[in-house]
């Protein structure tokens, strides 16, 4: 059975040469006011030429405010959306594959390797189907095993995600489960086909604190045991800290900073990252933190001007930021890249 092959991933100690995921200049534009007789004249630049890589086993957290393009990025990576331009390469069954050019027939194989976990477990599960039907569906679609084998497989994954004894959960319906249990079902459904890469879009943001930690630990455990690598999308920096090795900060369709999670949190270099970090409330009434020094809110990136996307809210904005296009990511410390003309002065 396929699942057995995955323990093999744990044996390798040195990082593989090729990254599991390589994204280059990925762009997704959504047309506005398009009609039958006229072409769209303006576009929302939801994802605007971003590039990054994810090494196997190094979970990447994608953080940013609503409207920054993080969910669109996630959907592009699992091909729920097709990119406007740019490249997404992944290693599927040992071969580097261009995701954008996959055809219908190849998509099935792709879906066995790449899955997604959604934010709201109340919306993402079909209320009329039993837990077994929901979790077994990917196996059925992929044509894995016969009914008896699928049942075993489902029981095994339900136990792994903490829904034990599995028999008591299999033939229940989503409304009989709590929010935390539903999210476990959603995780089981994504992982039952033993994917190598999973996009998790805010999987814990609907859950209460006492339930959330359990789901966070479960996802980490599964990452270690099954060898899954995550792109973890969240607006919560504290959750990102616990769920990722590397962290990327998005703002209006651009990645403005990326690096090792602890390094970025300890030494943020982009003024937006700094503002974001200083705005996070601290669970200690004796700490008086310095407050975020920026105002206003994130504007929709509709046909953005060719200059820094953060310029309107930036406390450091200068002429160089106005007269040049949005800055490229530049490595200012080992593995720590920033897209800011003035970040060098602060490093």
């Amino acid at each position: 059975m396929k699942r057995e092959g995955y323990t093999g991933n744990l044996v390798t100690t040195e990082p593989p040469q090729e990254p599991l995921v390589r994204v280059e200049n990925l762009t997704k534009l959504f047309p506005l006011n398009k009609s039958l007789f006229s072409e769209a004249r303006s576009f929302v630049h939801a994802v605007d030429g971003i590039s990054f890589t994810i090494q196997e086993g190094q979970n990447l957290a994608l953080v940013g405010e609503s409207g920054s393009g993080k969910t669109t990025t996630g959907k592009l990576l699992v091909r729920l959306l097709n990119p406007t331009s740019g490249k997404i390469e992944m290693i599927l069954n040992g071969t580097q594959t261009d995701i954008a050019s996959l055809r219908r027939g190849e998509m099935k194989k792709f879906r066995q390797n790449v899955q997604m976990i959604f934010q709201d477990p109340y919306e993402s599960l079909n209320p009329r189907r039993t837990i077994f039907d929901t979790v077994a569906e990917p196996l059925t679609v992929q044509g894995i095993g016969n009914i008896a084998e699928r049942e075993l497989q489902v029981a095994k994954i339900l136990t792994t995600v903490g829904l034990a004894p599995a028999e008591t959960f299999m033939f229940r319906f989503p409304h009989e489960l709590s929010g935390g249990q539903r999210q476990r079902v959603a995780i089981a459904r994504a992982l039952v086909v033993a994917p190598t890469f999973v996009v998790a879009d805010e999987p814990t943001s609907m859950l209460d604190v006492s339930i959330r930690t359990g789901i966070m630990y479960l996802m980490q455990k599964l990452s270690d045991v099954l060898g899954v690598t995550y792109l973890y999308i969240t607006h919560d920096l504290a959750v990102a800290r616990y769920m990722s090795t590397r962290l990327a900060v998005m703002y209006r369709g651009k990645i403005v900073e990326i690096g090792e999670t602890e390094e970025v949190l300890a030494h943020p270099l982009h003024p937006y990252t700094r503002a974001l970090l200083s705005a996070v409330p601290v669970p200690d009434p004796t700490i008086k933190r310095s407050r975020a020094n920026i105002k206003g809110s994130i504007a929709k990136p509709i046909d953005p001007e060719p200059r820094c996307r953060f310029i309107d809210r930036c406390p450091l904005a200068a002429e160089v930021c106005r007269s040049n296009d949005h800055p490229e990511l530049v490595e200012l410390a080992p593995g720590h890249q920033v897209a800011c003309y003035r970040a060098g002065e602060m490093a």
């Binding site: 604190v209 006492s210 339930i211």
Partner: protein, 333 residues
């Protein structure tokens, strides 16, 4: 942190043994059970707990904004000496917004989409006979807009023309319109992005101090509660399980649930510590556990915890806990 008043004369709101049930087809839901606390003039109190713990039910009971199937079983809500539980709807309407008002969680739903925002606030002012002429009403709304950081030019706009943060400010302006003594804010920043939340929190704290109002701030987020509250109440399954000065509750949590909540909460400051998990799930309030409602999930529960509901008792310095076996820990968060 400023010294908290212990003067009994300063007490503005006193809630005593408040119990409220919802009657449903499946049975009685024990949403608020025997809750008692006090709120002093000019003080802010945070009410923290998870979904379904009864924190919003406490708020709607205080304002008597309850659905038809809700029954206040027992208890008193003394506001400035007046027991709100006894008031008829007509009398209550005079108290609501003038003495105690509320900021709702979903600002989009709290504003009527087909009326201009300014007109909705003017309506509130007129209903409470706060203004005599249209010009006066208009001036009051302009002042309120400036107070909450909104451009008075937005008065004649509709809610959909506002951003999320601006809508929340408008709802705050409405709550402040009749100069209430107490404002109850139910998760006012939860749907907002972190930078907008930060700006709004800071301004709410300033407003509360500047107007010398008392505030009850309800949130599931203990970090937000830590920033806005002088005192904290922790709710679990319809009961208040711990109550005290914020720094005390945070540094020396007495209830195992409070401790569990705090050590499950990730933070971006300080060393990356291990997060703990609470086993199990919050109970169904149709059939709450006997005795202490936390006992099925509590690592320290003994046999007596399942039998008797522990009362809220003072452990010194006005730090109350409802637990047979209070913890002795000090937390370095």
């Amino acid at each position: 942190m400023a010294e908290l008043s212990t003067n009994q004369n300063d007490i503005l709101l006193k809630v005593e043994n408040l119990t409220m049930h919802y009657t449903t087809r499946a049975g009685e839901v024990s949403a608020v059970d025997n809750v008692s606390f006090e709120l002093r003039r000019g003080e802010s109190m945070g009410l923290v707990g998870e979904s379904g713990c009864g924190k919003t039910s406490v708020a709607t009971t205080l304002l008597r904004l309850l659905p038809e199937n809700a029954v206040i079983k027992s208890g008193h809500i003394y506001l400035d000496g007046l027991d709100l539980v006894d008031l008829n709807e007509e009398k209550m309407r005079q108290v609501r917004w003038k003495k105690i008002s509320m900021v709702f969680q979903a600002a989009m739903n709290a504003l009527n989409p087909v009326y201009k925002v300014g007109d909705q606030i003017i309506e509130a002012l007129e209903n409470h006979n706060e203004v005599k002429t249209n010009q006066e009403a208009r001036r009051r709304v302009e002042d309120l807009f400036r107070l909450v950081g909104l451009d008075p030019a937005m008065i004649d706009r509709y809610p959909h023309e506002y951003s999320g943060g601006m809508r929340q400010r408008a709802v705050i302006a409405m709550a402040l319109a009749c100069h209430p003594d107490v404002i109850v804010a139910d998760e006012p920043t939860t749907a907002l992005d972190v930078i907008v939340q930060d700006n709004l929190l800071r301004e709410m704290i300033e407003l509360q101090k500047q107007l010398n109002m008392s505030m009850i701030y309800i949130s599931h987020d203990i970090a937000v509660i830590a920033e806005v509250s002088d005192r904290i109440g922790v709710m679990y399954a319809g009961r208040l399980v711990e109550w005290g000065a914020s720094d005390q509750v945070f540094k020396r949590p007495l209830h195992p649930y409070t401790y569990g909540l705090m050590s499950a909460f990730p933070s971006i400051v300080g060393p990356k510590r291990e997060l703990t998990t609470l086993p199990g799930e919050p109970p169904d309030l149709l059939n709450p556990p006997t005795g202490c409602r936390f006992h099925p999930r509590c690592p320290y529960a003994t046999e007596s915890c399942a039998r008797e509901a522990p009362p809220l008792r003072d452990m010194g310095n006005g730090h109350f806990v409802a637990c047979e076996h209070p913890m002795e820990v000090s937390l370095e968060l």
